[in-house]
Amino acid sequence: MKVVGARIPRYDGVAHVTGRTTYVDDVRIPGTLWVKALRSPVHHAAITKLDTRPAEEMPGVSAVITWEDVPHLVYGPLEALGIPADEPLLAKDEVRYKGQPIALVAARDEATAAEAVSRIEIEFDERPALFDVRQAFDADCPVIHQEGNWYTHFEDDMDRRQIRKGDIAWAFENADTIVQGVYRPAAIEHAPIETQVCQVVPEPSGRLTIYSCTQALYFSMGVVAAHLQVPLNKLKVVGGTTGGGFGGKVDTATETMCCLLAMKSGRPVKWRWTREEEFLCSSTRAPWHMEIADAVTKDGWILGRKMLTLHDAGAYSRFSPYGLTKHSFHHTGAYTIPNLEFDGYVVYTNRVPTTAMRGFGVTSVSFAVETHMSRVADVLGLDPIEIRLKNANRVGDTSPNGVVYTDPSTVPTIQTIAEAIGHELPADYRTMTSEQRSGEWLPEHLVAQLGNPEDH
């Protein structure tokens, strides 16, 4: 071990404390044009008129782009897996969330660009908008997405992420009590102190140099290349310095549009979102709606769990199917439940598209599971720590998706917590280990789920 326990300095620490770190906004390029966006002022509408000529005719304006300027307009991050894309880079016939970009202007300075945006003529025919993921799932709800109100491209064209394990009917028939709960964590804005920012320089060689605050450089490169329909060797992406991201800079929010403006104007361009744009238009962590019903015994064993999850994708799918998949794998939390029936849907609303944020997909379900564990203990009149230890993942237990645990840390973690908060545990809980279940910790209903850790 060379690093664990060593005091390794941050490689960028000295630059940070002397103001010498070059963030994207700090890159100085002579002759750079400023970019401003025309964004949808409404949540959901048909675009009935879009005329950018008044902006194009304004002195100081070098380029204006709309959907017509995008070589490959509709793209999705899962296209490579054969999943149809659903999000246009710039809105074409309709807008589906407030703040959705429609047109962009590159002009000699920020004020001119803003003035030009205000001169673009646009008219809308407003439609009903949906903001609640549970409401959007109702059968009689207005349809807001071209594919219906939820994503339909899980494996084998299933419209949900589904997990079936063991015999759920047996669990509910043999339960002493059913404990139910509904959990609805809200959206969270990443709110990095550095707002989204990008600079693009059209090089004489025909390449584009992209200064990006992306958290996912090669990913962003692929997205730009796909929209522009150019090979990767036409793009030089300079990244690696991000003024806070937390997942919100995984989406390619600015780079492609800046490239199009740089190509159209032949000039370097810079787009720095305002704080208002960052709050109102950037992606957020998803809001979720989770319903749990646990079949439990009066001595605190969880025989089975039924769960319905609705993941709010916002207006477009982006990475939501991936987030929901992670969520589904973790829907028993750090605990072993042998009989499962899980259905998760990626549901569309007219909120901003949601995206990655620190452990995305998993934090929501952890919140629900841990709250629910305490609720089960409360209903049964049992100790909330003991019920967790009893059902804790042990070596040889299997996860919802069939992975055999070889080194689970739930037991020592909970014991440490109990000690830290001064919570007295009975001897058999205090001495419990993560070793394979046996004796009082291996009731009949947990035998069939056991796997062989040697196989993994």
Binding site: M1, K2, V3, V4, G5, A6, R7, I8, P9, R10, D12, G13, V14, A15, H16, V17, T18, G19, R20, T21, T22, Y23, D25, D26, R28, H190, A191, P192, I193, E194, T195, T242, G243, G244, G245, F246, R272, T274, R275
Partner: protein, 171 residues
Amino acid sequence: MNVTVNGVTHEIEGGPLTPLLDVLREELGITGPKAGCHQGSCGACTVLVDGEPRRACLIPSVYAEGKEITTVEGLGTPEDLSAIQEAFIHHYAAQCGFCTSGMMVAAKAYIDRGGTDDPEAIQEALGGHMCRCTGYAKIIEAVSAAARGDSFDLTTTAVGKYTTMTTGGAE
């Protein structure tokens, strides 16, 4: 109009109502102060005006005429770090680094006016500065250390002198 930044006097072209932040960043190329919100909320653009912390995005440049402006670049160089900079490195008080410039000049003002290592007083002094990486605990530790006048063994952290993965840390 003239403004003096980190000891150097510049003649500036921006109008008297141009925010000082824009003069510093766009006209003078002094990019240490960051444009986090342009509305006085986040503190990332903070500079010292005659030793007092001020939001550069909110003050018209005319207000800075004839006054001494200090930005993070004026606190010390990589080769000659000031105590507060050493403390921020030693205590890992900069994560993404975007709020660091503002935090450090505010901390310098706090220490220069006799601020102690009392965490509550430091929280009060830096209360208007947002850190979204949630590094507040380490920032407060760093400011406390600098306020106490701690000296740091920077052989583990100074440029070119630190332990690396190949030269070894704990075995």
